[in-house]
């Protein structure tokens, strides 16, 4: 794990408090950005904050690589009394991902936001983005169940408004945002109910402490129900099939920058929280019902999600909706890996999570970039886009191939690993499903590529142009990562592996303080 440490060096004063600063900095900056005089200034501050968060994530990852676990007691109050930030390799991986995507998406945002948001609203827009970022980072790093709810809501509330702002382009953003708000709030409230039951049974809110205390309560019905509520609540946020209905609308109609950021991070943070509860709080080894749930509920749901949503994606006529349905299917892949309940499966799921962020970020960014000057995302509108915007659309092609799982791309390796994990537990049906879904993915990505590269642009079609450098730079960074990690997967796979190993070796658990 020592290869983390060499990445970046943060002064000790900062590194000691990286866990708090990674969340506090964007929260404080959000307030400052809201007062920024104009959009440019707000953008610079936002980019600086996102960069700072990424830096802190690197620093944290270095610490975790060295010590295995970072625990930070906020307010100086020792954990069960105070709120604790607790991070092992699994958190580190998600924090790094969110930090990196935030920086790239933020670079992309300058041209995108100038097209899609009115000038006087831009500072507030960036403020909402920073709040969302802080919420996602907080969800990922916190070790306190109720604090997780607070951050869940911080990220959700800002997400609702960010999605609704797509109304300047398409009014359907508004009902989508409203539906998301209703579903998201029900999900968050379910989560609170679940936490309440766990609190009633254990008397604590610290996740590691809960884990230690419920280990002897496998018969307690309140704990069982609490578990179910938490899974449903977080599943809603993670767009777990069949609780994904809010996602296609929200992704399809949000401003393009918002879609880029959310598709690559929002469901991932919720998915992390789900994994944390499934494996670190409710250990399948001590809770037979947790294992039952994994094998008999989550695994079939994952299978259905992969097939059903891939089919739905294949029948869409709007590129952003295609990608949105594909996102739900990809959550299914991750869930499939997790549902095997093995370290191999978990690492495969997490590996796919990383890769999916890279490819979906790139795909949405490419569509947003190509349509920068003429808001459009219908398949017919994109006809001939490959000629008009070769750089943008070839990045789309690279990420699309990765989404299909073409050899030499990152997507191929993670699917391969998912296959291995399924075979490892003897799930032949999963192998068949992955094969079928790859064909479907080839169809829906193929439809876009066919329209973009093999069709002539119609007369009077939308004004698709090559995206500016501020779009191409982050876009190609992501695209190159998709290829690089398809050839040399040591970094993402190492992260995923370390995360899964940390979960299964119980690094997260309290040491030597059984109740």
């Amino acid at each position: 794990m020592s290869w983390f440490a060499e990445y970046l060096w943060a002064p000790a004063a900062l590194a000691d408090h990286a866990a708090a600063l990674i969340v506090a900095a964007p929260l404080i900056a959000a307030a400052a950005v809201a007062m920024a005089p104009n959009g440019r200034f707000a953008w610079v501050m936002t980019l600086a904050t996102a960069g700072f968060c990424f830096w802190m994530a690197l620093s944290l990852a270095g610490d975790i690589g060295r010590d295995g676990l970072v625990s930070y007691a906020l307010g100086g109050w020792a954990p069960p009394m105070g709120i604790e930030f607790r991070a092992d390799a699994l958190n580190a991986m998600i924090l790094l991902l969110i930090g990196m995507i935030a920086v790239l998406a933020c670079i992309f945002s300058l041209p995108a936001v100038e097209r899609e948001v009115r000038a006087e609203k831009r500072p507030l827009f960036y403020s909402a983005f920073l709040i969302c970022l802080a919420g996602l980072l907080g969800m990922t790093i916190t070790g306190d169940a109720f604090n997780l709810f607070v951050f869940l809501e911080i990220s959700s509330i800002s997400t609702y408004v960010l999605v609704a702002l797509g109304a300047s382009r398409d009014r359907r953003a508004l009902p989508s945002a409203f539906n998301y708000l209703i579903m998201g709030t029900i999900g968050a409230t379910f989560f609170v109910i679940g936490v309440g039951f766990l609190y009633a049974a254990t008397g604590t809110l610290n996740m590691a402490d809960i884990a230690a205390r419920i280990a002897v309560m496998e018969e307690n019905r309140a704990v069982h129900a609490g578990f179910a509520f938490i899974v449903v609540g977080l599943g809603l946020k993670a767009a777990m099939y069949p609780l994904h209905q809010w996602l296609p609308g929200a992704y399809a109609y949000a401003p393009s920058f918002v879609t880029v950021f959310l598709s690559a991070t929002a469901t991932k943070a919720a998915f992390y929280a789900l994994v944390r509860f499934l494996f670190s709080v409710f250990n399948p080894q001590t809770f037979p019902f947790a294992e039952t749930l994994l094998v008999w509920v989550l695994a079939p749901l994952a299978g259905i999600a992969i097939v059903a949503c891939s089919f739905q994606a294949a029948f869409q006529t709007d590129v952003r909706r295609i990608l949105a349905y594909s996102s739900v299917a990809q959550v299914g892949y991750m869930l499939l890996g997790v549902a095997t309940g093995t370290a191999l499966g978990l690492s495969a799921g997490m590996f796919h999570l990383l890769n999916h962020s890279l490819m979906k970020g790139a795909l949405f960014m490419a569509i947003g970039g190509a349509a920068l000057y003429a808001p459009c995302s219908k398949l017919t509108d994109l006809a001939g886009a490959g000629k008009k915007a070769p750089w943008t659309m070839s990045a789309f092609a690279v990420a699309g191939l990765s989404l299909i799982g073409f050899p030499l791309t990152a997507g191929f390796l993670s699917k391969w690993r998912l296959l291995e994990a399924s075979l490892d537990v003897g799930w032949m049906w999963a192998v068949a499903i992955i094969g079928l879904a790859s064909v479907l993915a080839a169809i829906y990505v193929g439809r876009v590529l066919e329209a973009a590269f093999f069709r002539e642009a119609p007369e009077g079609g939308p004004d698709i142009r090559e995206a500016p450098l501020l779009v191409l730079a982050p876009l190609w960074t992501l695209a190159i990562m998709n290829i690089w990690f398809g050839i040399d997967s040591s970094l993402p796979l190492g992260l995923a592996q370390a995360g899964a190993d940390a979960v299964f070796s119980g690094v997260y658990a309290l040491t030597g303080s059984a109740p």
Binding site: F149, R171, P175, F178, L181
Partner: protein
Amino acid sequence: MPDYVLSHYNYWVVIVLMMVGLYIVFESGNLIKRLVGLSIFQTSVFLLYISLGKVAGGTAPILIGGGHGGDKSHGGDESHGAEGAHAVEAVDAHAGGHGGAHDAAHGAEHAAEILYSNPLPHVLILTAIVVGVATLSVGLAISVRIREAYGSVENDEIRAADISLGEAEETAA
């Protein structure tokens, strides 16, 4: 059995309230009514939490006796730290003497014997209430925008408007 009912009826009523709130959210087609249902659902969850924190025979978790709940030396003082206790005075209380207003309705009790209800659920629910109102205001703002864009806040009509729009676009293309 009656004991069991008496010690759990609170939870059951609260559960029924949650179900009603949730039903309003799912059943109604009107956006504002759905938000009302959502806030009823959330409020009912708050009731659950507060039920968990109630201690029979307890009192509100505000220490009686100006800050030294466990300290018997002025346990009999029985003043509400509330009355007359300005910041300076309360600090004095740490040192020893404390002359606040007296409480006629209550006899002299030892502070150490006083049972307090659990403060933690209260804190959590304070946070949750604030989160609830934040969600509500965002939801209302979105429904105002929906009304302006669609001329309606009924789910069916919004969907119908979108479908007809979609069809129009299809035929145009």
